[in-house]
Structures are given as C-alpha cells and as structure tokens.
C-alpha cells in the first residue's frame, strides 16, 4: 500500500518550471531515494511535500488523505517530518532541548498549566527529557546530551536534526542530503542509521548525492532532471539505465 502518493505535481517560479508534472508513489516502510543533478528540483519537491511551498498544480496524498498545500505544522500532525539541507538548528537552545521541541505535538502545550508549572507539566517534561536522551543515543549522540547546540560539530548537528525529526514520531521522514559534508566513516554511520529507522517501520524519502549511500539503502530510486522524471526503479535498474548515466551518473572510467 502506498503511504505517499504524488500526482501531476508541478511548481513554477515565474517562467521556471522547477517541478514539472511529476507522479510517483512511496510504499509504506520503504526507503525512497531521489537523485539528480543540482537544480533538478529535488529540494523544491521536498518543500512541496512538507508544505513550505504550495504547488502550482497537482495533488499530494498521504495515507489516503489529500494534504496538498497544507501548512508545515499541520503536516507534522499528519506524521510527516524532515531534516534540512542547510541546517536549521535551534542554536539558542541545548542539543537536548532541540530534540525536546521535536516532541511538541505530543506535549501539553496549553499556556496556563505551563505558566503555573502544574504537576502534569513537570511530569510531561521529565518524560520528554528521557525520551529525548533516548533518541540522541539512538542516533549516536549520547556524548552530546549536555551540549549547547551552537557548540556542536557539523556532523553531529546533521544527526541532531534526524533525532529532532524522529521525536515528532513521524510515519514519513524526509532527509535532505543527510551525508553532505560528512567523511566516509560518518556517511557509513548515517547509512546504518537510515536502515535502522526504516527497519523500525518509518518510511523514508531521501535526497542525496553520495551514491554509495543511495545504493546502500534504497528500495526505489527516482531520478529527476530539469524538474521531470528521468527514470524510476530499484538500484540495479537505475545504475544501468543509459539515460541516467548520460544525465547524471557518468560512464565508469574503463568504458570511456
């Protein structure tokens, strides 16, 4: 059964067709990757699915509900969360508090009990803190539980975004270039983390330029070029697709 269904989706910025009539489905529990050259429309597609842009045309269906054009904070309630290509860390807070914000939708957020710090709020915060520590350990940030977010290295912040997104208990997690700027060892760790999240039943949509990561985790790969679909299939099909090789992957050195 498909969890996310995109039909005839299009987004124009003036005359530029950033996403040009795109349809695909993401199966529940799978890792769905999107690759393509810079400017192919990958991030725009992410922003359309997560409600940051409203599409010019087309529909997005999540779990059989039409969610086209809903605001980000409403989509979060449906169970869609994401990380960002350009880090969007709350750097005025501690690392742990960043993850605690991720649990926002599952907390008592009425103003009066918070102002009076009623026992329910104290208990909820203790639970929230405990779960946040658990999530930081889950993504491999156990050493940073007490850190200020603005004092953490880049690689750790990438994982912090994932922990924060997981805190909202999503059913669909969109990762925008989680391995960008990471060294091979860190990329390998992200690879394992993605497989682990998927094994825990969370569907993943992944945008990435690191091909080792793509081949390592993807159930399906969608190739975008100039806002349109160039190819879709599993890793093997995409790897051997002539059009994809010409547009993006390039020839292996031996065959030139």
């Amino acid at each position: 059964m498909s969890l996310l269904k995109v039909e005839n989706l299009a987004k124009n910025f003036g005359g530029v067709k950033a996403v040009n009539v795109l349809s695909f489905e993401v199966e529940a529990g799978s890792v769905f990757s999107i690759i393509g050259p810079n400017g192919a429309g990958k991030t725009t597609l992410f922003n359309l699915i997560t409600g940051i842009y409203a599409p010019t045309n087309g529909t997005v269906t999540f779990d059989n509900q039409n969610v086209t054009g809903l605001a980000s904070h409403v989509l979060a309630r449906h169970g869609i969360s994401r990380s960002f290509q350009n880090l969007q860390i709350f750097d005025n807070m501690t690392a742990l508090e960043n993850v605690m914000v991720g649990q926002h939708l599952h907390m008592d957020t009425r103003f009066l009990p918070s102002f009076l710090r009623l026992p329910g709020v104290v208990k909820g915060d203790a639970r929230c803190r405990k779960h946040a520590i658990h999530l930081m350990e889950y993504v491999g940030l156990g050493d940073y539980v007490r850190a200020e977010a603005d004092a953490m290295p880049y690689g750790a912040l990438k994982r912090l975004e994932i922990a924060r997104a997981l805190a909202s208990k999503p059913r669909l997690l969109l990762l925008d270039e989680p391995a960008a700027g990471l060294n091979p060892a860190e990329t390998k760790a992200i690879n394992n983390l993605i497989l682990r999240i998927a094994a825990d039943g969370i569907s993943i949509v992944l945008v990435e330029h690191d091909m080792h990561l793509i081949w390592g985790v993807s159930d399906q790969v969608l190739v975008l070029d100039h806002g349109s679909m160039l190819a879709i299939g599993d890793s093997n099909e995409i790897r051997n697709n002539k059009a994809v090789i010409a547009a993006y992957l390039g020839q292996p050195v031996g065959e030139l």
Partner: protein
Amino acid sequence: MKFWRARRAGLLFMAIIVIVLPLFLQNSFHYDIAILIGLNAIVCVGLNLLIGYAGQISLGHAGFFALGAYFSAILTDSYEWPPLLALLTGAVAVGMLALIIARPILRLKGHYLAMGTLGMGIIISIVLNQEVDYTGGPDGMPVPSFTLLGWEPGGNFAWYWIVAVMLLVSVWLALNIIDSPVGRALRSLHGSELAAQTMGVDTLRYKAMIFVVSAVMASIAGSTFAHYAGFLTPVEGDFIRSIEFVTMVVLGGMASTFGAVIGAVILTLLPQLLAAFHDYEMMLHGAVLVGIMIFMRKGLVPSISSWFARRLK
C-alpha cells in the same frame, strides 16, 4: 535538573534582596525609586519573553503600559469602579486589543515588525493626547487612590510591598513558562521558524500569544503605576518610554529573566546616580550604555554569568 535548581535559587536570591532592601531605604524618595524600578521590571520581564526568548520586537509597549494606566484612571475616576475591577478590565481590554493587532503585525519580520509596533505605540499615544474629554489630554488627569475592601495602601512602604510581590510573581511565571513545552516552542521559533513549523509549532499562534501576555503584564504594571502616582499624563505612553523598556531588556541581557530585572534596575537608577554630575549627566549615561554594549554584547547578566562559568571550569 540542574536548570531547575538554578531557577529556584535565582528566585530565592531575588526574594531575599527584595525583603532585605527596605533596611537600606532611608526615605520616601528611595522608596519611590524602588517602586518605579519594580514597575519597570515587571514590564521588562514580560517584554523579554517577547524579545529575548521568542525573538520578536515591540517598540510600542509603553502604549500598553499607558493604556492600562488610563483604563484604571478613567474607570475609577469618571465611573467610580472598584480599582481592582478596573485594573482587571484594563488588562482584559489591552489583551484583546493586543490579540487583534498581533495576527497582522506579527506576520512582519525584523525592521518591518519594529516599524509596525512603533506605529501602534504612536497611535495609542496620539489617542491619549487627543481624547481630552476622557483623558484630560496633555494636562493629564488625577487618579483616585487604590482601595480594596476598604483597605488603602498608606504611603510608599505599603506600595513597595505590593510592587515587590507583583514583581516576584511575574519573575516566577516567566521562569516557569521558559522551561515548559510552550517556552521551548517560543525559543525554537527564535532559532529557526522553518524548523519550528516542521516540528508542528504553529508559529504565528505562539507569537500572538506571547505578544498578548507581555501586553497584559505592561497593562497591569501601568494600572498599578496610575494608582501609585495619583496623577497621569500621556508622557507615560510616549515613544521614548517604549525605547527605554527595550533598552532595559537589551542592556540586562536578552533571553535572561533576571537580566531584564537588572536592566530595569540600572536604567531607572542611573539617571538618579548621575544627577550629581549636572551638565555631564546625559553624556555619562550614554557612555555607560555604549560601553556595556561594546564590551558585553550579550547584555550584562549573560556576559557575566558565562564569564563566571569559564572561571569555575
């Protein structure tokens, strides 16, 4: 856990200072200054929630302060309402006004938000100056004394304790909200509005709510000031007063509740201390502010506490 202890310790420390302070206040002029500090601090604690934590700006909060004051003045003087009822009515009315203004104005960002709130403050100020039938215009109007069930605070000593309790309650509420799901949501929209939305935070709703809360706190402080002073002029709602409030928050340290209080203490006290220098008063005043902003850019309290934290390591 550590944070919780630090918070309780800070509040306790402040309570002790407030209790011990009267031993050092020698005359009613000293009490007068202490009371004005307390009222300014209440406004600043609320304003800091908006500026320091939620990352928004208001250059019109003196407008809310003055509106609260005039609600109390007009309702008790012209309509002979009980003062407490007038104060609460003023707070509710100012809260509703803030809520109506909040949605459109808080869609603005940065300089535009500053301009929007500035305009709002100036409009309030003009209304208070022009509605002579109600407010007495620039000449001001008298305010009846505060009475509650026949009790009337006699003199500055009683007012000191009223304001002290109000300030401690404000600080307690502010400390509570900051370390709660609501407070984290507020701080998150300061850090990254985009990510906050993705985490399910309805950012516009939170901005509006904290704008209303800070406006209501200013209104209550204003009402109290009106009864304490016994006479009210539109100067209280001036643009300059709004700037003073913001300066207090920034000077003491944004995103620090105790910083907001310290800012109010210094900027209320400084003109009095510098009065001895006569002609050079304004120059020294400016030099102190510029100096602090150059050498302690995060504001007094955060700069000093991080200096201590480094030393203790």
